[in-house]
Amino acid sequence: MAASVRELRAKIRSTQATKKITRAMELIAASRIIKAQQHAAAAAPYARELTRAVSAVATFSNVDHPLTTEKENPTRAAVLVITSDRGLAGSYSSSVLKETERLAEKLRGEGKEIDFYLAGRKSVAYFKFRDIDHVTSWTGFSDKPQYEDARTIGEALVEAFAEGEDIDSDADSDVDVRPVDELHVVFTRFKSMLTQEPDVIRLLPLEVVEGTEAPEEHELLPLYEFEPSAHEVLDALLPKYVNSRIYYCLLQAAASELAARQKAMKSATDNAQDLIEKYTRTANQARQAGITQEISEIVGGANALADATAGQE
């Protein structure tokens, strides 16, 4: 036996310790998913009402709002990348980053410059390692996003977008200004405990009616009166709508991250168990070989002794 029994025992012990850790992480992730899903459910009424209100204004007034009008010649796009803060979640962050690369390629192909906005330490590390510039980053809340976080991100993005509006007319005169013409979000959609898919949505200019949260069964919206005016209502509504959409993305991403982590930790635990079994078998074999060897040595020794005494007589 190549490895001694003692070495194997040490390996088994350390694998057991690892298994305990991965098992604990798996259980923690599992319990947090439930919480994340509850958060998502709690946020649903606000998103639903807001979507109804936005579609009502959009349907019943012909107001053109900067946040909803498409530019004729979009030249700069902002991309918000939502990844996790910590690793040990399988391919969760890397598949988001791959999707980001794909989107970036596409946007560059359309002749747009890209501003990156990052959420989650993993994406920051990725961009830093590749020496790609980003505008701002937010970290520290990936597995438990609060509405405040979404609001901070939303305000920054809407501001970047609105700046583009103001400077639009003399955009070519000043090279330094960076009007953002569209805004995309790359995040992971939580489909089920087993599947989470990286996804891209275009947040701005707004496409108000979205398949996922549109008002049910095309109910007829009542003829609203708007106070003080449709334009002002829209002005106040849209930034909130953006925040709410970002919050939705963050919650989806958080649930996906936890599900991915649970899955990764489960397979790590299973692998550790397999390793422990394998090592235990090898250790048993080594022990048995040792015993067999000892017995044959004793038998051999006894025989030799017996032969020697027999020869004397």
């Binding site: 946020a43 509405y147 003829l223 609203y224 003080p228 209502v233």
Partner: protein, 124 residues
């Protein structure tokens, strides 16, 4: 008075209060607004202030809201605001600290929001 209103008081991450009510009072961008049953469909911008709901059981619910919206349609009233607090969720000392900070920063909206919270506390 015929009919009641289905009222939902919704914050960004939860439903703060929901139930039947007779009357809803809120402060909108164009002045104070009272909603009774059979009100015409309305979408209005809220300014930070106090929303008062007269529930069907005679109970009065007061909540401090930040900027947000009020929508009325088919006897359903939704009050949406990112920051919505009932009186028992507020702590007076915290609110006073918030008010002072807002005043020192000269942030008019934040001052309004903090004052609304104080009013909710004092009247409950």
């Amino acid at each position: 008075m015929a009919g009641t209103l289905q009222v939902e008081l919704v914050a960004a991450d939860r439903v703060v209060w929901s139930g039947e009510a007779v009357r809803v009072l809120a402060r909108t961008a164009s002045g104070d607004l009272g909603v009774l049953a059979n009100h015409a469909p309305l979408l209005s911008v809220l300014v930070p202030g106090v929303v008062e709901i007269e529930a069907s059981g005679g109970e009065r619910v007061r909540a401090a809201v930040g900027d947000g919206f009020l929508s009325v349609a088919d006897n359903r009233v939704s009050v949406l605001s990112e920051d919505t607090f009932l009186a028992d969720e507020l702590v007076e000392s915290d609110v006073r600290a918030e008010l002072e900070q807002a005043q020192s920063e000269g942030d008019a909206l934040a001052v309004q929001a903090a004052e609304a919270k104080l009013r909710v506390l004092q009247r409950s």
